[in-house]
Each structure stands twice: as structure tokens, then as C-alpha cells.
């Protein structure tokens, strides 16, 4: 049995629903905050994810970072060396989607050349009449950047666990892979 620990950097523009998503994940869907409250710094959410069909788990330390530009620089200082990345946009805002490449660049600057598994999350999938970013478009971009794509609705409690589960699994796979390499060394 092993318990891995991963530093998960959660970024994206302001008000795309990063905190809503991480709170839904933390509370298993029990807590959707209806009123918007802007995150000014970094909020830390810690939760363990069980890896299916094993007795192993990954403890995610989610660094829910302010999306507002004014606070972004201060937040970056708290990221340290990221293990995994969760990049969020709002499917009803093309602007928030276009910001993703900038966020990705920012986080990668902290990765020191390490392979950092990541997901792209299109949140607010419930706002179908106001959708500005098509699933295919987001999916294609995600793929080109080596990210796995997920759509969620924190409000409707839809799919909120999936991105985090996928990150935990990717990190676990990385661990297995490194173990194998190290075993061949000695």
C-alpha cells in the first residue's frame, strides 16, 4: 500500500468556477457555493483519491489560485514545484478559453522541465444556450497540449470528480513508471 502526494495547481481566469469545482470535489457534491466569492490568494484543498483496483491512493494538495490578474503573481510564489495541473475555463466564455495558453505557460515555467500531467476542464456545461466554446475545439486544443479534456458543471454536480481522478491516476502511473526505471539501476 502506498499513499502518494501530489501538488495540484488549479488555475484559469477569474470566475470560471475553480473554487466551486474544488469545493464540490472536496465535499463529494455536498457544497455548491451559490454566491460568488473571489479567491484573493491561494486556497488549499486536500483530498485523497483511491486508485481503482489497488489499495493505493493519491493525496491531492489542490492549490486553488486566484484568477484575477492583480493576485496572480503573488499566487505563483506559492506553487512551488507542481506535480499535476488542472486548467479551467468557462464554456460560456471564449475569453476564458483563450487565456488558457497563458495559464499553461505560467505553470510550465515552474515545472523545471519535468513531465507534469494535466487536464483541461470546461466548466459550466449546464449553460448550453450561452455556450461559446465548442467541445471539439476545446478537445483539439487540449490534445495538442498533452492535456486530457473534461467538461463539468459544478452547479449541476456533473462530472466534478473526473478531472481530479484522472490527474491522480496519471500521477500514479508516473510513479509506477519511475519505480520500474529505478529498479533496473542497481
Amino acid at each position: 500500500m502506498v499513499k502518494l502526494r501530489a501538488r495540484c495547481i488549479l488555475v484559469g481566469d477569474a470566475s470560471v468556477g475553480k473554487s466551486a469545482l474544488s469545493q464540490m470535489f472536496r465535499s463529494d457534491g455536498a457544497h455548491f457555493q451559490k454566491n460568488y466569492s473571489m479567491t484573493a490568494g491561494v486556497e488549499l484543498v486536500v483530498k485523497s483519491v483511491q486508485i481503482p483496483e489497488t489499495s493505493d491512493s493519491v493525496e491531492l494538495f489542490i492549490f486553488d489560485s486566484a484568477g484575477k490578474e492583480t493576485f496572480a503573481e503573488a499566487c505563483e510564489k506559492l506553487w512551488g514545484q507542481p506535480s499535476v495541473l488542472c486548467l479551467v475555463f468557462d464554456v460560456s466564455s471564449d475569453v476564458s478559453f483563450r487565456s488558457c495558453s497563458l495559464w499553461l505557460e505560467r505553470v510550465r515555467a515552474h515545472c523545471q522541465g519535468l513531465q507534469v500531467p494535466g487536464v483541461l476542464v470546461g466548466n459550466k456545461s449546464d449553460l448550453s444556450s450561452r455556450r461559446e466554446v465548442e467541445t471539439v475545439v476545446a478537445q483539439e486544443w487540449a490534445q495538442s497540449q498533452g492535456l486530457e479534456y473534461h467538461e463539468t458543471s459544478a452547479k449541476e454536480m456533473e462530472n466534478c470528480e473526473a478531472p481530479f481522478l484522472s490527474l491522480a491516476q496519471a500521477f500514479y502511473a508516473l510513479y509506477q513508471d519511475r519505480l520500474q526505471t529505478i529498479q533496473t539501476l542497481a
Binding site: L4, L179, A186
Partner: protein, 136 residues
Amino acid sequence: MIDAALISSGTQVILSASSDENYPPEHVIDGKAETFWISTGMFPQEFILRFADTLKITLVTIHSYNVKNLKMEKSTSSDATEFEGIAEKEFEHTEGHLQANDFSLSGTTATHLRFIITSGYDHFVSVHKVTVEGIR
């Protein structure tokens, strides 16, 4: 001169920040480079060795993989308190073989050694063997 880090010399690991039960920190002091302790994510990582007696340490050798920065601290108390820094080093990156690094310590006395890994060349780092040369 003895290799004081061995389990057979009475040395114990009294703390480690990570543990996969298949790769316990005791692997560091079993005298074999084939067995290892692996960190399980995030930095810093650390482990503390307790010696059977107070030692005058002359040389510490560490065999590891993907460790970048390592700090060594010692304690002369019997209860692993009041650690003070004695060495710090940036290891070179190796690929396909272990890192081997020496620390000459000119007879410093210690009951405990604490190894703090503050960064790595990968998410996970391993320590295969710690050898401590000293006089009781």
C-alpha cells in the same frame, strides 16, 4: 573505522517523510545498493538516522537517484532535537546509473543525522545506500 550506518551496527531510521511499504526507509541502511527507499511525491522529503552511540563522523556517502538538493543536519542529543546544519550540496543529474556523493565531516560528533531533500530532478527520488564512516 566502522560503517556505522548499518542496521547491524544498531542504527535505526526513526523518521521518514514518505513510505511505500515495499520500499521502506530501512533499505537505506541495509548495506545494499539494490534496495532503496523512494519518496512518494512533493518536496521537501527527509529521513533521520539514529546511531547506537555517539559517533565521531569522518565521511558520509550517499547513493541516490534524481536527488537535486540535499541538506544534512546533525543532533548530539539523545532524543533527536536541536538539529544543526552541517552540509548542503547540489547533486549532479545522472541518467541510467546512481548518484554517488561524499561528504567529508572531519570528525564531527553526532547521535543522529537528518537528511533533507529539498528538490529533485524528478517528482520521485530514491536513496539506495547511506554509509557513515566514524569512530565510536
